[in-house]
């Protein structure tokens, strides 16, 4: 509260200006302002930012003092714990107590303390890790000593100045104020935040760009006003208000986030904005998720049944007791003891008291240890899944992560899988395949062959060793670049040949530094025709440059080609780094200019007066000479007009010289060892498409050489290095589906916009068709090829350009700058601004990039299919691409019929759905109804998942799954998801074998999942790799993230994270099946065990006047569940395998078992109850008759019964155990040994204690009696006899009928 008021107060003040802000101490409340204000700690003696969290982090939940109450409070959120505590407390009431009250507390205390110790241990680990982090060092400016001093992280405060050195980790969210980098940049690696391994550039706050000397914290008098802490890593907005009253915008490019690592930058200084728990990294860090699994929900129903059974038997016994008392009338027998007060209780009152007593005695029926055991077993299961080598990916050194610990068994019950396509089914490693420029297709046959070769090698590595020699020769004939090609393919061959796992690993370590670097992606064999054209074109341009001819003389085809490649090279955010020092970006500076950020800047830039402007004087000394020469050089070539106002721009343009070439001599940064040799550069891109295109352009010798915030350098054949002044970058976003760069073309000096984006978007933004016949033809042809590409399953991108006049640009720039500085709705304004720029484009060409399927995807899809899982693919790609990928990964079958739903309106969609429904019904209803009709529809027989079990299980859903595929696009999907149509859509969709949703947005993805989950009541699994899959992953019952190329957002949101899609097969079919069957069996066994044990006591009530007496010693009664019979079931629950892993993978049909919940059906609970009933009868009455009318005493009789029950229960588990390992043997032997050891010790310990049983020497005497052993032999055998017999009968029956 105080902080909020503080924040708002300061915001108000900041609005009035910096000085006012410093003075402003009035506490006024303004709820609309949600900002925080940060002032430097050097400013005032008292702490100016006292209410912000400091950098000390504490992720622990408890302190020493609060641990007990807090932990108990949390544990009591579980209803069962409350119940057990209630029962334990009930024991303290003298009238109803059944056991020694202290003893009755034991199990509850035990359970609670086990959980508490677990929590404590985890908390302690957190505490240790906290301390370690809190005690890391960093340099903080001390205003007392006037220098940077080493301090612990935890001592860092908001408003502190921090000096950061290379490879240091950021202690807090820091606003970058100064950097040793001459470009005023700072590079950070954000792998710990989002898993992206490429470097990101961060910029010094604009107003501090010009500082020529070292940043001095004492000269800093600005006030920062920014957002309140939030968890959005990709957003930071705020202002810096200087003393002069000037305000500068702050954006995420200025913010260094906690946990990132400084790279490539010697030193940087920043001011702490958010510290400790308010940093974005910490706000994003929320612990594991807790879900409740289907099995657990089912179990809870049966726990409820147990409660009912408990109440029924207690009431029964209570009534019995009442009647028993009643029959004696007033003559109280000598054994019916009066109440302690000596009063005579009426039968009714006795019955009521007895009811409560019995609830205590029979409490074991609600298994107290069940919940704890399930948790332990799940943890063990998670551990084993973690350890599975088959789920370990050597290339990325990552294995499966279970992030949700308590839904392992859900993996065995999945019915629907919703999968993303890109990055999930495919590698998300883009390989350039073909392109079309200016309406001409270049098929890149050699490239295609090269890719085919990789595939071949992938499949048969052995064979390629012998074939390798011949392959290049064949290729050399086709290409005039023969020598080169031979070299390349030989080099790749040798790489593949030594392609052992170790080699692959080394390659993957390398590839960690640069994002995408496998030779398959890098080495592109150029199309000879296109290469020739590029060469020709550039030589012509070279020629023209020498002869100072205008560029317009170039034929439009050729200029399109060169523009196309320039666009490929520069319209991206790729960062260049050299391989020798993978973390050092290549520094090549040809001119020094800050990007155009203000109108004044713009005017300066485009007028000669900029020569005199002092803006560049702050450059570091090493660069001065180069820069001045550059400036001189460019100034000679720039326009002579001397006006310095915007209005003069018209004149400037009209009087502009013919566009001329500006040959710029390359110059190198001193410290970067830069090797000119081509192919040594590494490209780091945020998305793999970009890298693929840049590598493609490089194959045509059109290579990206360097990128700075304001400049891109490209090397072209003949022309040498050209640097494009980067005026603006409009980044890619999923709504626009395109990105643009605004550059000043060095050859023509024109302001050019290059746009790259999805074909559907770009096509709409092109110049109106009437512009020219040629353009029209290009568009038409390109569209044709685009369709072809899509049919081949390629990802298509369109490249377009636009030339802006200076005044157009100026006009747009003004609007854009306004948008950038707006506070309210900045995103929206920027979006609008981008829209204004990206219109009337001229189409250059299109590219087809292949996104290769991941290894084993078709096999996995086929296996999951056979396992009875319905797979839906939800993708953002266009329909044709998606359909083709779907065919490639065997999701759609060429033999299947395909329903395509494309509608333009709600009504059309409704109609389409109706039609398809009729179609399906007409086609299939009859076929499934009678066998004869099948002959006519041989192609469309209902999918036979598993003939015997699926037919019986499908009675809930009358729809059979047909051999049909459904394809629906995003727009139609939006209509179909409408409330009125969703039922119909579902009806259609669920009778199809596979569903493909194209062009769907993240929101639609999650809506589809939600719809299917809620309406069909099925178990859903969503799998995806990107941020766009997060919502879907969160909605599904089980969310799986692929830790792939696109960062960690999906993984963070997921319950399970896999390195590869194909691991899903083993995860579901093997681990899912096992986890499910293990837990299901364990839960059933638990119910059985407790029921059987309690029933023994219940039978006894008939022989003790329903008095709530127990023949089993209370110690045995209480520890039976907790100790004696606990371990074997845990071992079985963790390790049992009903079917081996190999079989499960070979016969995916076995998965149906879990889908239909066949291991744990409601009737099974009752079957187990009946079995428990029978076994308890045997275990009770055999000793009963054996000891009938003998001189046996109560607890001497109870001891063999306990022993028998233990044997029976353990042997029962033995029958249920499918796989016996030494662990099972050990646990059973241990249990029995434990029981006898405890019993013997207990019975020898104290002759007077343990009232009322006082079991002194009982066990010892029993062990001397032959009768005891005789009972131990016959009773378990009799009790367990029906089970194998029944199983055998069933086996025989099935064998007979099948």
């Amino acid at each position: 509260m105080t902080r909020e008021s503080r924040d708002t107060e300061i915001t108000k003040a900041a609005g009035a200006g910096a000085t006012a802000a410093v003075r402003g101490r009035k506490k006024r409340k303004n709820k609309e302002n949600k900002t925080r204000t940060v002032r430097a700690n050097t400013l005032l003696n008292d702490h100016p930012n006292p209410h912000y969290a400091n950098n000390k982090i504490k992720t622990t939940k408890y302190t020493l003092l609060s641990f007990l109450p807090k932990n108990l409070f949390e544990q009591f959120h579980r209803f069962a714990n409350v119940y057990f505590v209630f029962i334990a407390l009930l024991n303290f009431v003298p009238v109803v107590n059944a056991f020694q009250p202290e003893l009755a507390l034991a199990p509850v205390v035990f359970i609670l303390s086990v959980t508490a110790i677990k929590d404590l241990w985890e908390d302690y680990r957190r505490h240790r890790s906290d301390t370690e982090i809190n005690h890391m060092d960093c340099l903080v400016y001390s205003s007392m000593e006037r220098r940077y001093v080493e301090k612990y992280w935890k001592e860092v405060q908001v408003g502190d100045f921090i000096r950061l050195r290379c490879n240091e980790i950021l202690p807090a969210d820091v606003l970058l104020l100064s950097s040793s980098d001459p470009d005023r940049l700072c590079h950070i690696e954000t792998a710990t935040l989002d898993g992206e391994t490429n470097l990101k550039q961060r910029q010094v706050v604009r107003s501090f760009l010009d500082l020529d000397c070292e940043f001095d914290p004492f000269k800093y008098h600005s006030v920062i006003e920014c957002e309140k802490p939030n968890n959005d890593l990709n957003r930071f907005r705020g202002y810096i208000v200087h003393r002069s009253g000037r305000r500068d915008v702050l954006c995420k490019e200025n913010l260094l986030l906690r946990g990132c690592t400084i790279r490539n930058t010697e030193e940087a200084v920043g001011i702490v904005i958010y510290a400790g728990h308010e940093t974005k990294a910490m706000l994003n860090n929320n612990g594991p998720r807790y879900k409740r699994s289907k099995l657990e929900r089912q179990m809870n129903v049966d726990v409820f049944w147990c409660v009912i059974i408990l109440l029924v038997i207690c009431s029964f016994a209570a009534v019995g007791h009442g009647l028993w008392m009643f029959q004696y009338g007033d003559k109280r027998p000598v054994f019916d003891v009066l109440s302690p007060q000596g009063t005579n209780l009426s039968p009714i009152m006795s019955a009521i008291y007895l009811f409560l007593t019995l609830i205590i005695v029979f409490q074991v029926l609600i298994p107290i240890s069940l919940f704890v055991s399930i948790e332990i077993v799940k943890i063990c299961q998670v551990y084993l899944i973690h350890q599975d080598m088959d789920l370990y990916d050597e290339e990325t050194d990552s294995h499966l992560q279970c992030r949700a610990l308590n839904i392992t068994e859900d993996l065995g019950q999945m019915q629907y899988i919703f999968s993303d396509k890109t990055g999930t089914l495919t590698e998300n490693k883009m390989v350039f395949r073909r392109c079309t420029v200016a309406g001409v297709e270049y098929s890149h046959d050699a490239n295609a062959r090269r890719l085919a070769m990789y595939q071949e090698m992938d499949s048969e590595e052995e064979e390629c060793m012998s074939h390798g020699g011949t392959l290049p020769r064949r290729e050399s004939v086709t290409s005039h670049q023969s020598a080169r090609v031979v070299l390349r393919s030989q080099s790749t061959k040798s790489h593949r040949r030594t392609g052992s796992r170790a080699e692959a690993k080394r390659a993957s370590i390398l590839s960690k530094h640069t994002a995408f670097s496998s030779p398959m992606e890098k080495d592109i064999t150029p199309d000879p025709q296109l290469l020739y054209k590029v060469n020709e074109c550039s030589s012509q341009m070279d020629f023209m440059r020498f002869h100072s001819q205008p560029m317009s003389q170039l034929s439009s085809d050729l200029s399109d080609i060169i523009d196309f490649f320039i666009a490929l090279t520069i319209c991206n955010t790729v960062v260049v780094s050299s391989p020798n020092q993978p973390r050092h970006k290549v520094r090549m500076r040809f001119e020094l200019k800050s990007p155009v950020k203000t109108i004044e800047d713009f005017i300066k830039r485009f007028t000669p007066s900029r020569l005199t402007s002092g803006s560049n004087s702050s450059s570091s000394s090493s660069l001065i000479t180069n820069r001045s020469s550059n400036k001189g050089c460019s100034s000679l070539l720039s326009s002579p007009s001397a006006e310095s106002t915007l209005t003069k721009l018209h004149e400037e343009q009209s009087s502009h010289l013919e566009p001329t070439f500006s040959p710029v001599p390359p110059c190198y940064d001193g410290k970067a060892s830069w090797n000119l040799e081509e192919g040594e550069l590494r490209y780091e891109a945020e998305s793999p498409d970009e890298a693929a295109l840049v590598y493609a352009a490089r194959a045509y010798k059109c290579s990206l050489v360097g990128r700075l915030p304001d400049q891109v350098t490209v090397e072209l054949p003949h022309l040498g290095k050209l640097s494009f002044e980067l005026l603006h970058t409009l980044g890619f976003d999923s709504t626009r589906k395109r990105m643009s760069v605004v550059v000043k073309h060095p050859l023509t000096d024109q302001i050019t916009v290059y746009t790259k984006g999805a074909d559907s978007v770009i096509m709409d933004l092109l110049k109106p068709l009437d512009t020219g016949k040629r353009q029209k033809k290009i568009i038409c042809r390109t569209q044709n090829y685009l369709n072809l590409y899509a049919a081949d399953g390629l990802r298509t991108l369109c490249i377009a350009k636009k030339i802006l006049s200076k005044e157009e640009y100026a006009c747009w720039l003004q609007c854009h700058l306004e948008a950038e500085t707006a506070i309210q709705g900045r995103e929206e304004l920027l979006f609008q601004s981008a829209l204004r720029l990206e219109t009337n484009l001229q189409l250059l060409g299109a590219t087809g990039v292949e996104d290769r399927l991941q290894d084993g995807v078709p096999e996995t899809v086929a296996a999951l299919r056979r396992a009875g899982l319905q797979i839906w693919v939800l993708t953002g790609d266009k329909q044709e691409t998606a359909v083709n990928i779907a065919y490639a990964c065997k999701l759609l079958d060429p033999e299947e019929e395909m329903l395509t739903l494309n509608a333009d309106s709600q009504e059309a969609c409704a109609l389409l759905l109706e039609e398809s429904l009729h179609y399906i019904q007409a086609k299939f209803l009859c076929s499934s109804a009678d066998q004869a009709a099948k002959a006519f529809h041989t192609n469309f027989v209902p999918c036979e998942i598993n003939s015997s079990s699926s037919l019986s299980s499908h009675n809930t859903s009358p729809f059979l799954v047909h051999r049909l595929g459904l394809v629906i696009d995003g727009r139609t999907l939006a209509y179909a998801l409408d409330k009125t149509l969703e039922d119909k859509f579902l009806e259609v969709a669920r009778s199809c074998r596979s569903v493909l949703c194209c062009r769907s947005t993240p929101l639609q993805k999650s809506m589809v999942v939600k719809l299917v989950r809620n309406k069909l009541k099925v178990m859903t699994l969503a799998i995806g790799d990107g941020a766009n899959d997060v919502s879907m992953i969160q909605v599904a019952d089980v969310g799986v993230g692929i830790s792939g190329q696109e960062g960690m957002q999906a993984v963070m949101a997921s319950d399970f994270a896999l390195p590869r899609f194909r691991y899903l097969q083993k995860l579901l079919l093997v681990h899912g099946h096992w986890c499910y069957s293990r837990l299901a069996n364990m839960i059933l066994y638990f119910f059985y065990k407790n029921a059987m044990f309690v029933a023994l006591l219940f039978w006894y009530q008939f022989y003790c006047g329903f008095s709530g007496s127990a023949m089993i010693d209370q110690w045995y009664l209480i520890f039976f569940n907790l100790m004696f019979s606990a371990f074997p079931q845990l071992v079985t629950g963790t390790l049992d395998k009903d079917v081996s892993a190999e079989t499960l993978q070979r016969l995916p049909q076995l998965y149906v078992n879990g889908q239909n919940s066949e291991e744990y059906k409601p009737y099974m609970f009752w079957m187990n109850m009946i079995d428990a009933f029978y076994q308890s009868l045997v275990c009770f009455f055999i000793p009963y008759f054996a000891y009938a009318d003998s001189d046996v005493d109560l607890f001497t009789w109870g001891t063999p019964i306990t022993t028998l029950a233990l044997f029976t229960i353990l042997l029962h588990l033995g029958i249920e155990t499918k796989t016996w390992t030494w662990m099972n043997w050990l646990s059973i032997i241990f249990s029995i040994t434990l029981f006898f050891t405890v019993a013997l010790c207990y019975n020898a310990s104290c002759p007077t204690c343990f009232s009322p049983s006082n079991p002194y020497w009982t066990m010892q005497r029993q062990l001397q009696e032959p009768l005891f052993y005789l009972l131990c032999l016959i009773t378990p055998v009799t009790a367990l006899l029906p089970r194998p017999f029944g199983v055998q009968m069933c086996n025989n029956y099935y064998n007979g009928t099948n």
């Binding site: 677990k118 957190r126 890790s129 370690e132 980790i169 946990g259 860090n285 612990g287 594991p288 003559k331 000598v334 054994f335 019916d336 003891v337 302690p340 007060q341 000596g342 332990i376 998670v382 973690h386 599975d388 080598m389 370990y392 050597e394 050194d397 990552s398 992560q401 992030r403 022989y1103 003790c1104 007496s1109 390790l1135 395998k1137 081996s1140 009963y1184 054996a1186 009938a1188 009318d1189 003998s1190 001189d1191 109560l1194 001497t1196 009789w1197 499918k1218 390992t1221 007077t1248 204690c1249 009232s1251 006082n1254 020497w1257 005497r1261 032959p1266 009768l1267 005789l1270 016959i1274 055998v1277 006899l1281 017999f1285 086996n1291 025989n1292």
Partner: protein
């Protein structure tokens, strides 16, 4: 437990990441160990319930159980047992009047005599039991109503018995020794056995009253306060004055003349304090020891049982019996276990046969082999 480390690691994923950067960043492969346990490939035995395994098991069980059963049955049959009900429900029975008139409040004892005939001689040691029916010694409140510390001779417990003894804890301001409902309802009939010789003389058969309780009870669990000597002083001393249980005629220190069998260590008392498991039970009363190897312990013939009828059971429809029995290695006469073994063995055998028939009838293919190991 081991696995929860993963949990924690994920929770502070960001820390561990940054920490490893700061400290010695060890590049360690996360590759799981290839051990049989972690890969769930432990060598295992998979007992599949097939005809091949179940059938032999049934036959083997049958073959083992039936001989055991026969052995047990024969053993049990060799045990001689004689039982006589002397409750006196029937008008004709000797104790009818005693049973009719007697209650806990009676001060004088009622005597009755029952005649009976042993058809067969009892060869070895004969155990004499008294049996009660419908007596719920296992009632929950009854079972609890005792103070083991007091019975163990604890002085403080003697003067201040446990709360569990309520309402038989204090009587007339004095603590009851022994307290509690069990002690209060001590069986106090006295039985005497006479052999009626052919000439009509009654020959009293010596009944040994020692050695009927568990050794541990007699010597460890039950002890007299302040030793066995001078019990009167202890139970009636100034500081340790106690009262007798309300239903008792005599105080606890007058249970027997023999100081080794008096007070809390009186064996009849100890036997009674071991509460029976079931409402129909017997308790060892006396032992008739075999005197010579030639003479049977109890020759066949007529006997007379003299009963001092003190214990009322009719109010709760109870029965009192006197039982004479020899015992074998497996205890008293009880044919049940033998029959049970024979029955279960036969059932197993029978089921085995049934399964075999079914198996042969249906099983043309292999059974259960579709799931290989």
């Amino acid at each position: 437990m081991m696995a929860s480390s993963y949990n924690a690691k994920e929770e502070d994923g960001h820390h561990s990441g940054s920490a490893s950067h700061g400290g010695a960043a060890v590049v360690k492969s996360k590759k799981p160990d290839n051990t049989a346990f972690k890969q769930q490939r432990l060598p295992a035995w998979q007992p599949i319930l097939t005809a091949g395994t179940v059938l032999p098991a049934f036959f083997v069980i049958g073959l083992i159980f039936i001989p055991i059963g026969i052995g047990l049955y024969v053993t049990s049959n060799n045990i001689k047992e004689f039982e006589i009900d002397y409750t006196g429900v029937d008008m004709n029975s000797a104790c009818y009047s005693c049973a009719k008139n007697f209650s806990w409040n009676s001060t004088t004892s009622c005597l009755c005599t029952v005649d009976f005939t042993l058809e067969q001689p009892f060869e070895s040691n004969v155990f004499m039991y008294y049996g009660l029916s419908n007596f719920y010694q296992n009632h929950r409140r009854y079972v609890k109503s005792r103070d083991d510390s007091q019975l163990n001779g604890d002085m403080s417990a003697l003067t201040n018995p446990s709360k569990e003894c309520e309402p038989y804890r204090m009587s007339e301001g004095l603590p009851i020794a022994p307290c509690g409902a069990i002690a209060n309802s001590l069986f106090n009939d006295t039985l005497k056995l006479y052999y009626l010789e052919a000439n009509g003389t009654r020959n009293e058969i010596p009944l040994v009253k020692k050695g009927i309780a568990w050794w541990t009870d007699k010597h460890v669990k039950f002890r007299n306060p302040g030793g066995n000597a001078n019990l009167t002083a202890v139970f009636q001393g100034n500081l340790t004055a106690t009262s007798k249980p309300v239903n008792w005629r005599n105080p606890v220190y007058e249970l027997d003349q023999d100081p080794e069998n008096n007070g809390f260590i009186n064996e009849d008392f100890i036997v009674w304090m071991r509460t029976a498991a079931l409402p129909t039970f017997r308790k060892l009363y006396r032992i008739i020891q075999k005197k010579s190897s030639t003479m049977p312990t109890l020759p066949s013939g007529k006997y007379v049982l003299d009963i001092t009828y003190n214990y009322p059971v009719l109010s709760f429809d109870g029965r009192k019996r006197m039982i004479l029995s020899t015992i074998s290695w497996m205890g008293g006469k009880n044919p049940f276990l033998g029959i049970a073994y024979i029955t279960v063995g036969s059932i197993c055998f029978f089921l085995g046969v049934v399964l075999l028939i079914i198996h042969h009838k249906y099983d043309t293919r292999s059974t259960g082999a579709d799931i290989p190991n």
